[in-house]
Every structure is written in C-alpha cells, then in structure tokens.
C-alpha cells in the first residue's frame, strides 16, 4: 500500500518536473514535437500508400531506416563505454555519470525499436515475433533477426528496469551503493555488447552479400559504436552541464576522449584493412567497396558522402589523438560532432547500401532516401532526442536528490 502511494507520488512528481521549465526547454521540446509530427504524418502516408513512397526497391530492400537502426544500436554502447571503465578500472568521475549514459541508452533503444517498426511492411503483425508458446513464432535459434529482436527487447527491458529502479531508490531518498549495483551494471554492459555484435551478425552471415560477409565487420561495428556513442555522449554532456547544471569533471571528459581516440584508431585501422582486402585484389567481391569509394560503371551516388565521412573521421581523429587539441573544449566538441556525423554516414548509408550494389545478379540500382523516409527518420530521431531530454530533465534532479518523496523530505528535515 505504501509502495503504491509512493509510486503515485513519483509519477506526479515526474510529470510536474516534466512540464515546468525555462522557455528554452519549451522551445526545444516544441521544435522536436513539430519534427515528430511531420514524421508521423509522413509515416501515415507510408502506411496508406505502401512502401512505394520510399525509394527502396527489390534491389535495395533496406535503406535509411535500417541504416539509422544500426547507428542507434551503436549509441546504446555509449552507456556501456561508461560502465566498463568506470567500474572495471574504477574511474570515480565516470561512475557518477553512468546514470546519464543509461538515459541515453534508453532513448537509443526506443529509437532502435521505432526504426524497426517503421521498416516492416506489416507492423500490426508484430505479435508474430512473440515466442512460439505465446502464439507467435520467433525463430530462435536459426534467424539472426530473431536473435536481434530478443536482444534488443531484452535490452529495452533491462535498461528500463535499471532506470526505473534508480528513480525509485533515489526518489525515496536512499543512496546508491555502487558495489551493490555493479554486478547488474556489468551484466547489462555485457548484454549491450552482445546486442551490438548480434546486430552486426545480422549482416555478416549473409554470404549472398560479399560486402558484409567479412569477419572484420563485427569488430568494426563495435569500434565505430565506441566512437559514435561516446562522442554523442560528450556532446550531450556539454548541453547537460550547461542547461541542467550537472557537475561534469574534466577528468570524465578526458577519459571519454581517450576511449574515443583508441576506438577511432581501431576503427580506422579496420576500415583500412577492409578497403585493402577488397580493393587490392581484382575479385568481383570488391565491387561494392569500389562502388562506395569510386563509383561503379558511372554510378557514383555514394562517393561524395563516403569521402566526406572519411574526411570528417580523419579530422576528428587528429583532434582526438592530439592532447593539445583534444583538451580544448570547443575543438573537442567539434571533433565529437564530426565523429558523430562521420560514423553516421560510414555506418549507415555507407554500410547498408553498398551491400546491395551490385545486386546478386549484377544489377546496379542506386538508392538515396526519399523525402518520406527522411521525414520519418527525422521524426524518430526527434522522438528519441525528446525521450533523452525528458529523461535528463526528470532524471538529473532525481539523481542529485533534489526530487524526493515527502516522507524522505520529512526524514531529512527531522535529522
């Protein structure tokens, strides 16, 4: 009974915290809402007209949605990138930021699920993905996509549970004892890594698509996620420090910079290895890579994007690995922005689309997202950013003990 009352109190407190805020907060959320609304409208067109309003074809059956999906799954790893060094290598300044990483991961998993929903032809049949005993027919163990569905939804549950319990504990005024939590957190971190590996295996096992059929793919996935995730997180930390007043120490940012620098080194090395393997031989399996960087038979749609991504990644790399540059906040933020965009291109369009070009029968059909796809993707991103903002908005006061239940307040006053 007491718990139900507290839960109600928490719910009301969260709502209150969510609706009050400075004009900038309102403007930001309203802006996101507009983008979400446009995305929703675009999605309604896709639902009624069918996928013909997208630029996907039988030749390129996956496009912007799956590309974005892959990227946001990588964002989830941003949280992991905090947990592992913070706990295993005992970095106190990072430990205090883990909860922010969890909020970002929760927003990212919401986006990932939404990108899947907008990508499937019959979202109303999603119940077919339930396990067989529940009426659906999830094809564990043989389908990698079924594994990914399990891993993603499992992560969503774990992430939500961790955040909810965190809210619950802090709202009642209890301290978080990291020793008691670290087992769960490490398990969650392992889950998130496995989730990302499974997402890469989604592509890797497909021998029909030689571009993806490479063992370097999974490590590249992880390393690029460990670049894009923490970069995105650093950018958001800057905003959180500025607008939510969270105390973010230089050491925390510095640790993240080192992580990004290392991950980026690995990522660029793996990219180099892959480009060399594919392009130095004259095998037809290298045609996709050739298409990506140089164009194939006069088809060059992705070439400018790819070189842009490479330029952004290399510039960001120089800043990240040079302490003199990387320790200057404006330069670091610039590098983070470049890495976020660079990896987004490289791992989104640059990873998904060339897998289909040339097709299994040698056909070259190019793809770039239609307006509807751009609108829907932007809507999902805006929704995800909104979730992240909302979580930070309510979650920072809770973490800092400014938002607590009445009984906790009285307990504190009496003591």
């Amino acid at each position: 009974m007491r718990h139900i009352k507290t839960a109600g109190e928490l719910f009301v407190a969260l709502l209150k915290q969510l609706v009050k805020g400075p004009p900038l907060y309102y403007a930001w959320m309203a802006g996101l809402a507009v983008v979400v609304a446009i995305g929703g409208w675009a999605y309604s067109i896709q639902l009624t007209e069918g996928f013909a309003v997208t630029n996907m074809t039988d030749h390129v059956p996956w496009g912007a949605y799956i590309a974005n999906f892959t990227y946001v799954v990588g964002l989830i790893d941003a949280a992991v990138m905090l947990i592992i060094p913070a706990l295993l290598f005992d970095r106190q300044h990072l430990t205090r930021l883990i909860y922010l990483g969890m909020y970002l991961a929760l927003a990212a998993v919401v986006m990932a699920l939404l990108f899947i929903v907008v990508d499937i032809g019959h979202p109303e049949r999603a119940w077919h993905l339930l396990p067989a005993f529940a009426g659906g027919w999830l094809t564990i163990p043989h389908s990698m996509l079924a594994w990914d569905v399990l891993a993603l939804n499992g992560w969503a549950v774990i992430n939500f549970a961790l955040v909810a319990v965190f809210f619950w504990v802090r709202f009642q005024g209890h301290e978080i004892h990291i020793r008691r939590w670290q087992g769960y957190l490490l398990a969650a971190a392992a889950w998130a890594v496995v989730l990302h590996v499974i997402t890469s295996f989604l592509y890797v096992w497909l021998s029909a698509r030689p571009f993806w059929h490479s063992a370097a793919h999974a490590p590249r996935f992880l390393s690029s996620a460990f670049v894009a995730g923490p970069s995105f997180f650093v950018l958001s930390l800057w905003a959180i420090r500025r607008y939510a007043g969270v105390d973010v120490r230089f050491e925390a940012i510095e640790t993240l910079r080192k992580i990004i620098a290392m991950a980026m080194t690995v990522n660029l090395f793996l990219l180099l290895a892959e480009v060399f393997t594919e392009l130095f031989s004259t095998s037809v399996h290298g045609e996709s890579m050739e298409y990506l960087f140089f164009g194939l038979h006069g088809h060059t749609l992705l070439v400018p994007y790819m070189w842009t991504a490479l330029a952004l990644n290399l510039s960001a790399f120089v800043i990240f690995v040079t302490p003199k540059f990387g320790r200057q906040m404006p330069l670091l933020l610039l590098a983070c922005a470049m890495a976020v965009v660079g990896v987004w291109i490289e791992k989104g369009m640059g990873m998904v689309i060339p897998g289909f070009i040339p097709g299994p029968l040698g056909q070259i059909v190019e793809y770039e997202p239609s307006k509807i796809e751009i609108a829907v993707s932007a809507g999902v991103w805006a929704f995800g950013l909104g979730v992240y903002t909302a979580l930070v908005k309510v979650g920072v006061p809770i973490a800092e003990g400014r938002l607590v239940s009445k009984s906790a307040q009285t307990a504190e006053e009496s003591s």
Partner: protein, 331 residues
Amino acid sequence: MLKTLRRRLNVIGEGTAPAAPEASDQGPETPALAEAMGRAQLTRRTFLERSAVTAGVTAAATASGCGGPAWEEYFQQHYKRLSDEDKQVIFARLEANVKARHGVDVTINDPQPIEGVEFGYALNVSTCTGCRQCEYACAEENNTSRDPEMHYIRVLELDRTFNVMDAVHDYDGQVPRDGKFYMPVQCHHCENAPCVTACPVNATWREDDGIVVVDYDWCIGCRYCETACPYDARRFNFSEPNISPADINPNQGYLSNRLRKAGVVEKCHFCLHRVREGLNPACLEACPVGARKFGNLLDPDSELRRILENGRIYIFKEEQGTLPRFFYYFD
C-alpha cells in the same frame, strides 16, 4: 526481307497449340510464329487496357470502403497451425473477399505434397533464347501485380564468359543475339535456403516436396529474406498489387498464387497449385524452345534425373552451399 524474318521465326513450335489470335496473315505452316508474335502483341495491348481497368478497380475498392481488416484476419494463425476446419473458414473468407473486391469467383485450394516426390527443375542454357515468354506466363498464372509490374523470373543475357556480374537485364528485340547466352533466374528452392534461415517468424519454409513457400498472411514484411537470397528471387509488394479482374487466374493455391497484399514478400513457388496436381509449372508450358524441364528428383526414371545424370550441369552460385533444386545444363 520481312519474309525471311518470318521464315526465321517460323521454326518455333509450342506445346499446347492454341489458335493464333492476331497473326492470321501467316504462311500455311507457321503456327509458331503466329503464336509468338500474337502473344507479344497481346501482352502489349492488354498492358494498356490493364492500366485503365486497374485505375477503375482501385477507385471502386476505395469507394466501397472496405474498412479495417477484421478481427479474425488480424489474429489468423500460421498456416502450419491451422486445422482443416480453420482452413475452410479462411479459404471461404478469402474467396468472398476477392468476390467483393474484384467481382471474380475464385477457388482457393491447398494441395499437399505428394509422398515420394521432391521437385526439381532443370533449364537448358544452350537452347534458351531469352524470349521472356516464361516470365510473362508466370505473371499471368500467378496473379502477380501488373501495376507496379512484378515478375518472379529475371532473364539474364550473358556473354561467353558467363560472368553474371556483367549480365544485361534490359536487352530487347530479336533474340538470341549472336554470341549470347540467356539464363532465366527464379527461386532455386534451396535445400539450405538462406531466406528460410533468415525469416524471424517462420513465414517462409521448405515443404516436404522441396518447394519453399511463403505464408502471405504471416509475413511481417521485414525483407530480411530478400537480403539473404543469393539469387534475387524474392519480391516485396511495395504497394497494393493491382490486377484487373479479367486477368485474375481463378485457380488459386493458398501457399501459391492467391492474391497478395501490400507489405508482404512473395516469390516463385514452382506453381505449387499446378505441380501438386501433376501439371507442369506455367513457365515450362510457355517455353517455346523446350529449355525447361521439371520433374521428380526421387524418381530415377524421370527425365530430370536423366538430365542430372547425363547432362553437363551448372549450379548457379554453387559456392554458396545452398543446394538448389534448380539446375542449369548445357546439351
């Protein structure tokens, strides 16, 4: 000049010999030319008609306000979990839907695999002329969408190096062209089908006679199977399939050529509703040069087995390890 051309075309014969519809001015011994030309003209003409009719049908369907799909449609179970009674109810509902929407009486059958039969297909690359008759016959038999146009078979024009990556897909005019081979590609009905492995909901599976089928009412439309297929055999309905009532083949199979919806994947099913009744697939019947051979892989006396045992066989993308039931051969 024209006469020579005709004479060149004359030599084509065809299995079933219907009357030549358009080309009555042919010479006395030219059944085949008449047919081939007639079919080509017919296809082009019906094309124009179809677009007009299609527009009408779409308008009618929208006007009649079909409403949202019913409860039982939403919660219809997987084909393999349906009892015979369930099937009867569902088939009746599907037939009624077609009647209401297109005004056509169709029958939906569910022929089962025959004991001791595993189907196989062999295609003679030496004789195939690349005329695309099989491609259009398949569309007619299987009620595939005419607008947007969907075909299960894709005919590749290859040069003597046989490099598929250099295939020409949009060749046109007189075929075969000098020095070219033609290789129609359709679903290979693999033993180790990557599409079946990929499907997260078991909406596609291999039947006991080897045919890989799709339950169109179970597919969620994720297109992972399309991504997994090395033969580019699968097609997704990017919009509502359109087909004029006059073109609807009323003899339909639940797992084969019944009318599909937007947002689901479909593909060649060896004309399951025909072959389980002992008939040949429609593409074979349409082939004017006899390049296509169909039969029971388990029957040592079948022509198919003789081809596999005596012919020079080419297994497309053999290195993929998919163990296809579709073989190419040279004679």
